[in-house]
């Protein structure tokens, strides 16, 4: 039985331990504002959709990097797996968007589960190399198995309308629908991650991030926890990939590229790791800056992302978001 959330009668300790569970007014405003932005700027829906999907991808990385403190520089492996799963299904006549998302989750989670044990030993540098290696291997497997993936030519597929009649295509209200669909998926997965963060499991992840030795000395089976959250993180990335394939109706080998893994880490660091909103904010900033600056200097826009990173780190972004993070 969970105690009722009557804030006045709650002891300070209970209030403190439950504070992550409570939705703040500013959060509710944030999510409502996202709906508002999509509805108000249908012409920018494709860009917003890209931000939302990148935000989901960065959220998936936050589960493992921010919450658990395990670094990964190969998260594109799972994004790519999800994207190709949805695309291959659609190319073979199973174009239902929800089916695609559900189907994309499984191989990503499975590969996450199988490769997670590689992350349990060694130092961070070793983990960076291993995660990068897995992404490289999957990318080349997709390249080689042309019969399945279309290889370098990409894959031709059509995604069916959502619930049979809501088009997610690039015509008319399609992009707006696609962005709203991405927003709903992002919100559901975010709310689940948020709930997880407030649970004993979530607190144990933060504990093993803060001090793995002590977490073990309190009885936490740290290896199993890491494997579990890595598989979940992989599943999230897989869903992000599938969402990307379904709403852009494009998939190519570059989903596995190293720069995808690096970009998503930059987004998370821009927004701040460990508090779940960081990925969404970072993705919006990253893609927003790219959109604005590349209109002006298409080839050198990353100069400004680089500049921003340097300024953020030197100015101590921690202080800007600290108020909201605890």
């Amino acid at each position: 039985m969970i105690a009722p959330l009557d804030h006045r009668s709650m002891s300070p300790v209970l209030k403190h331990i439950r504070r992550r569970e409570r939705w703040g007014a500013i959060e509710i405003v944030f999510w409502l504002a996202l709906i508002g932005v999509i509805v108000a700027f249908p012409a920018r829906a494709a860009l917003i959709n890209e931000m939302l999907i990148a935000g989901l991808f960065a959220l998936s990385l936050d589960l493992i990097l921010g919450l658990t403190g395990v670094v990964s520089l190969g998260h594109a492996a799972f994004f790519g797996l999800g994207a190709y799963t949805a695309a291959i299904l659609a190319a073979n006549g199973w174009g239902d968007p929800l089916l695609g998302l559900a189907a994309a989750l499984a191989p990503a989670a499975l590969v996450g589960l199988l490769t997670a044990p590689l992350l349990l030993r060694g130092a961070d540098l070793a983990r960076l190399m291993v995660t990068m290696g897995v992404a490289l291997m999957l990318g080349e497997l997709a390249n080689k198995n042309e019969w399945l993936t279309g290889g370098a030519d990409g894959l031709n597929f059509t995604v069916a309308p959502l619930f049979g009649h809501v088009s997610l295509g690039s015509m008319g209200v399609g992009p707006r629908n696609a962005a709203l669909f991405s927003l709903v998926v992002l919100f559901i997965l975010f709310a689940f991650a948020r709930r997880l963060r407030a649970s004993p499991f979530g607190i144990s992840l933060e504990g093993l991030r803060e001090n793995r030795l002590r977490a073990g000395a309190l009885g936490v089976d740290t290896s199993r926890r890491i494997v579990a959250i890595y598989a979940l993180s992989a599943a999230y990335a897989g869903i992000a990939g599938a969402l990307s394939a379904e709403t852009t109706q494009i998939v190519s080998l570059d989903v596995f590229d190293f720069h995808r893994s690096a970009d998503v880490m930059l987004m998370l660091i821009i927004g701040g790791a460990g508090w779940l909103y960081g990925g969404i904010l970072g993705a919006a900033v990253f893609i927003g800056v790219r959109d604005v600056v590349s209109a002006w200097t298409p080839e050198y826009w990353e100069f400004f992302i680089g500049l921003m990173l340097v300024v953020l780190v030197l100015s101590g972004r921690e202080r800007l978001t600290a108020r909201f993070r605890r």
Partner: protein, 250 residues
Amino acid sequence: MTVPALEARGLIRRFGGLTATDNVSFSLAPGARQALIGPNGAGKTTLINLLTGVLKPSEGAVLLEGEDITNLSASARVRRGLARTFQINQLFPDLSPTESLGLAISERQGRGADFWRPAGKPEVVAEIEDLLDRFGLTDVYDQPTRSLPYGKQRLLEIALALACRPRVLLLDEPAAGVPEEERHDILAALAQLPADVAILLIEHDMDLVFTFATRLSVLVAGRLLCEGTPEEIANDERVKAVYLGEDAHG
């Protein structure tokens, strides 16, 4: 004859050519207040690591309440009731004392993998409040651990181990680095540890050892030199020789 709470049987640990733990056997009665003393380099830390499962012994066995736990991992031993504190604080800098204790209690209850229900069941909260109160942490319950004064961190170190509700508790120099004026807080905390928990105190501070322990074991160069009541140990010529020898150098 009751089953010992914790028993070491012929523990040997070699590091290359060095034998850090040399055929150590001892037992800890239920509810014991025992201390393990010995000069620097005697192998106290290695012995703790063997007992808690951080290291595997080259030979010998560790038994917890009669059950062989030699091949269990450190975290599995904790779940069976063998908890420890650390000489150098091993805390969760970004978590509050409340969250840290909640984490320990959830693990003990086997709810640590519950990802769905929020942390903070009423009985867990009651237990956290009780531990905060007993260890003088109530005023800092919501502060990040890294911002706590050192003495409070030391108390949290013990409170966390106790939150595991151990049958056996190993205290590794609980007063290490605590300034003189805060020592009595540690002593008071040690004095009110549950009577039914067997405690092995590893300590340098002789005042603390003689206040707390009713039985002493002396470890020298990886071997148990002798064992007895505080009076017997204080009057033992061999122990005097070891400690006088150390004093002469130090």
